[in-house]
Symmetry: C2
Subunit: 249 residues, 2 copies
DNA sequence: TGGACAAAAAATGAATGCAAAATAGCCGAC
DNA sequence: GTCGGCTATTTTGCATTCATTTTTTGTCCA
């Protein structure tokens, strides 16, 4: 009954000197900011069913706060596209149809494509070496059929490229869209099809190659295609989810 | 400075609340939504000086509402990156340094580049014809040295490309970033240098050409470069905001 | 005169209260 | 037994109120 939203290890400790500051992080000090972070994680991790109605009152009890800061956080989450607010009818977790997912993947593809382009202008040899390191690590996961490790390392590679672009605005936007997709991933529990792995590994090698040569346009193309292929795999998996146990309440 | 926010149509509910008028509302007729739209336009149009402090109290009086819906709108605007909220210190219009502008232009470049790529997959001949029409119109403005008309038509062309991408998510993100830049443009009153015009016209012709051939990668490159050049011109203009006269390369 | 300290004033952050709308619950009619 | 209308409860939207924090102002002393 007391379903408390997990305090995600990010207590009220506010003024972190964290390097990768997000541009809205001055919220962390105040209550509504704290709520915003907790709720966002909570939603992204798929703890609320798709389209699920979530009465404010209940959330307030779960969080131990009044409705005012909660409502402020909800407005922000709605602006971020994670939930939708129906007038006089409360907040629902935004449910993404196939078309929405396609659009999201394409935007992600565009952002990564851009990140690659920009990275070619600014990336250091050391950063490339680090990414190569991640690549080998990922290759290890691939050989061991460790899907979870593979997936995480893969994500770190892409984040490294975005970081190498030296563009905080891009990084923020990327994080936002990534969150929306991750939410679906959590609840639908995407599994990359095994056959896709080999392709993905080859594409990653091509990415590294273009990155080493600082071939901006080429890298841009490769990254877009890479994400496009991811999109196709994900959509196929969604329409035919025959690999994991579905989670339906 | 007692500026009133221009009332864009229907007035909002009188302060006494219990007024007899019924809300003849549509979806977004909720108060905070109304406020959000008005405030966003107000900020985007540059009516508040950079970094200017805007006491909630004053805004409430201007809008004739209480602080609750106003604060909700402010949170959203902060999430959109138009303003920043300093803890316990109120809302300020976010001021963009040169680096911020560079980042914004690059992200815009990435989004338009993506839009071009996607448009090649879905655009119809009729849409291309419409864009050609706009192109000729813009050429007319160019010949007449009508900077304002040129600028508007140019914007419509880019919006048409984004629309042709058939991606609402992209369109929304594009509008958001465009708003941030437009705000700067309003207050700084960018003027494109004349010499840049000729280049821009040539680039637009290349864009049209690639679009006709549905050459996705090529169009993507051209659009990115086009926006990159815009960026350079804009930044130069910012750091050295003097002439409109032609300069020698 | 200028600076430092303290108190007053104002602004922000959050909680509570109240009216309107929506949902559900109930009863009667068919 | 089911459908439709009416009432009661819940829920949302906004205003108001309370508690801190910040800013300003005023005073005193060097």
């Amino acid at each position: 009954m007391k379903a408390t939203i997990p305090d995600t290890g990010a207590p009220i400790t506010p003024p972190t000197g964290n390097g990768g500051d997000r541009q809205e992080n001055r919220h962390e000090a105040s209550l509504h900011g704290e709520i915003l972070l907790r709720l966002r994680d909570y939603v992204v991790e798929g703890n609320i069913p798709e389209g699920g109605r979530v009465p404010e009152r209940q959330l307030c009890e779960m969080l131990g706060i009044s409705r005012t800061p909660l409502r402020e956080a909800l407005k922000v989450l709605a602006a971020e596209g994670l939930i939708e607010l129906l007038p006089n009818r409360g907040a629902r977790v935004r449910q993404l149809g196939q078309r929405d997912l396609e659009e999201l993947f394409d935007v992600m593809a565009g952002l990564e494509s851009l990140a690659g382009r920009l990275a070619c202008e600014a990336i250091t040899d050391a950063e490339i070496t680090a990414i190569e390191q991640l690549h080998y690590e990922m290759y290890g996961h691939y050989l061991h059929r460790d899907m979870h490790g593979y997936f995480q390392t893969n994500q770190r590679i892409h984040e490294s490229i975005v970081a190498a672009a030296r563009n905080e605005t891009l990084k923020t936007a990327y994080a936002n869209f990534a969150g929306r997709i991750r939410r679906v991933r959590y609840s639908a529990n995407f599994a990359r099809k095994r056959q896709r792995w080999a392709e993905a590994m080859r594409e990653h090698e091509a990415i590294l190659d273009a990155l080493r040569r600082r071939a901006a346009s080429e890298l841009s193309d490769i990254l877009f295609q890479h994400l496009r292929n991811k999109r196709t795999a994900a959509i196929e998996h969604l329409t035919e989810p025959r690999e994991d146990a579905p989670a339906s309440p």
